[in-house]
Symmetry: C2
């Protein structure tokens, strides 16, 4: 026999032990449920797209994983393919390809793994989950949708048990109009906004120097610094008007914040933040970032925004939209660090039917398991020949809450002993009362 | 503006329109629910494994997709990686890597996409779903688990609405003992069993010729032909005993079939089939194949078996197990062809709140939607400025069953009109009765 292969995990490609995976699975289910409650429909695109689709917008080329078959021979039909690095490019391709068959506004959610060839480092995954919602219109999409999106995320994060968080919102037109109204050329805008976006981390003094080095007037530098520090719309309006800049973006932002309240947004959770300047290139209006209170340094767990034209690289038609994407892997990391994820159970099993006397009563044990499953209770039978102590130990280690024991006398009396493995108590229950008894204990209503 | 990129789907990588995806999503949920009802716990492994892990068993090298970063520069840490082509190799690697942290018997399910560089042809996907269950023991695993596995699949396929199907079962030791007891050498066994496996398609006469050409005695050829045609265990026992072969495999098979009944197997659905000879190399005992009645030509939709040692390439410890894998993509194809998949809805939305007079009553409409969602009803508000006719059309096209209309008089009276879009009827309902009314109509209990 040859020596077994030495195996070690591949860095950047996380996987979980069962107790952690069960917690992640609960998150995924909650997100799906909430998205569907708001009428978003699931789509799934292949992990694999043509390379020219993936690179149409440029920018992320270095991070894209190509796929290849080293021994493929003459069949070259799957060359020039790569793994998707986000779910927005596939959505754009999907909408362009299927626009004749979709109904608009098209409300879709998409929960899938994406892959990025990031340099391996703490908290950077090469394979991770994104959970996206977008509403896509054909030709036009009412601004009121921009007010709905953060309310969906508010519901999702609340349902996930995140105790406090803030969705920060701005509009790309605000800073854009401020700088372009003051003589900053188009080729320079990106550099200036990048410096503004980093202002909180860089510090005021250094940011002033950077902006001055870009050739900006003192008045504009003052305006930009004031804008990143300003907390309400009235103050922002004064700055814009003082600089002779358009207030269109600010008007939109005020509309969004005002209407979000009508959508049921929890008060105080949607906050204007005029320092949000970056965001992926395609955002053209509203932009969002979401921070878990106390974990702001971990970065935004849910970002997105409004785009004028989703599929411009793939279609001559215009598809405006607005979307948000939960970075589930990052959020889950943060929840684990803050003990917000319940990882106490390593199996979905709610009841273990033990086999005290397998030789004589196996059919009885299997019948009990069938009865429980028909009652909607996740049940497994211990099928190895081991003593009861080992069977209880197995249940406890997995975090299974209840075990059932039935020996000769119980079976003769039509009863079973139900052991609560957490409380370490035991009760005798009639067989025909077993399902309602356990459903009540398990909180299954 | 540049010309948009011409996009076309990549062959072998399927994706669905929303109505079909919703149906597939329901299948995935049902399978998960059923697997958990039997106490299987979800795990998920990365799509990406080291190439030496993927090729440890050999055999499928040509079909494996490697991944690479064309522009990766000096960071070579993700070379020699590939996409998994099944979920069994990743399970073996996972068990070997984590054996100290798992409880055995380890009951896991795993539902993920896998990738194979198959030659593109009808019904052959390069990316498709597998839905696996396995029970893995440490050192040993009781044979009774082999009787439980087909019962899990029986429950799953029943819950999916497959009207009739048969799980065919055999044991690899049966044909193996028959041929090796009669002088067939180890190097020849695979060729002989392959010919036997194909006997039903090849026909008796031609199969006899092939087997004779392998140098088999007339008596052995008779025995093999009789075995592939025999339908019950007693007859098989006569053949084995007549040939002086071991009956160990047959004893195991009888045990499995007998005990499956106690696990609740639907009578007539688990059938011995002594012609099942192939199966992936690692099966060493029980083997299963599953055919939907009337669609046998589409091949097995769920196959699996018992293996003596799952992780022999990755660990010195022995991990015997038994597993079954539903080929979901193939099964879903077959269900669509047989009209067993409900593709009538393109959104999970149960109620569309229309906006008859958005300017005045938007808050009212949003409040109705909140009320319904709090009652667990999937709801969306129509947020574009269009007439009611267009709004109803949108709901009908998506297959949304109910629409709510509220104008000035309804709102003043604390009522809404509920439109049943299927029946084309309308009822007036008091606002505070709306949730119970719709929950009852929607069958939400």
């Amino acid at each position: 026999m040859t020596e077994p292969l030495k195996i070690k995990p591949v860095s950047g490609f996380p996987e979980w032990l069962p107790n952690v995976k069960l917690a992640e699975e609960r998150l995924l289910r909650t997100i799906r449920e909430q998205y569907e409650l708001f009428g978003f429909t699931p789509i799934e695109t292949p992990a694999v797209e043509r390379m020219d689709v993936l690179t149409a917008k440029g920018g992320v080329g270095r991070q894209i994983y190509g796929i290849n078959r080293p021994q493929e021979g003459e069949d070259k039909s799957d060359t020039d393919l790569g793994l998707h690095f986000d779910l927005t490019v596939p959505l754009a391709r999907y909408v362009a390809l299927n626009s004749g068959k979709l109904s608009f506004p098209f409300r879709r959610y998409q929960i899938q793994k994406v892959w990025r060839g990031e340099r391996a480092q703490a908290g950077r995954y090469r394979e991770f989950y994104q959970c996206d919602i977008d509403v896509v219109g054909r030709s036009s999409l009412d601004l009121v949708h921009d007010a709905e999106m953060p309310c969906v995320i508010d519901s999702v994060l609340t349902a996930l048990g995140i105790p406090e968080f803030a969705i920060r919102v701005s509009n790309r037109k605000i800073l854009f109009s401020l700088v372009t109204a003051n003589g900053v050329g188009e080729e320079q805008v990106a550099d200036v906004l990048r410096a503004v976006d980093k202002a909180h981390r860089t510090g005021e003094e250094k940011t002033r120097k950077i902006l001055a080095a870009e050739g900006l007037s003192d008045a504009l530098v003052d305006g930009l610094i004031a804008m990143t520090g300003c907390a309400d719309a009235a103050e922002a309006r004064t700055i814009l008007e003082g600089a002779g800049a358009s207030t269109e973006g600010l008007d939109e932002l005020e509309f969004v914040i005002e209407h979000a309240a009508a959508f049921g947004m929890t008060p105080g959770r949607l906050l204007p933040d005029f320092s949000i300047a970056r965001g992926l290139d395609y955002y053209t209006g509203t932009v969002y970032e979401t921070f878990v209170t106390g974990s702001e340094k971990q970065g935004s767990v849910c970002s997105g925004g409004r785009y004028d034209d989703l599929a411009s690289y793939f279609s001559k038609e215009r598809f405006p939209g607005v979307g948000l994407s939960i970075g589930l892997s990052r959020l889950f990391d943060l929840m684990q660090r803050n003990e917000l994820a319940d990882t106490s159970r390593s199996a979905p099993t709610q009841v273990l039917v033990t086999a005290q006397d397998r030789e004589r009563f196996l059919s009885e044990y299997l019948g009990l398991a069938r009865l429980l499953r028909e009652g909607g209770i996740a049940t497994q039978v211990y099928l190895e020949s081991h003593g009861l102590g080992k069977q209880f130990g197995y249940a406890s280690t997995l975090g299974i809450p209840y075990a059932i024991v039935a020996g000769e006398s119980e079976i003769a009396a039509g009863e079973v002993a139900v052991k609560d493995l957490g409380e370490r108590t035991q009760e005798t229950v009639a067989r025909d009362q077993l399902v309602p008894f356990l459903r009540e204990r398990l909180g299954l209503g």
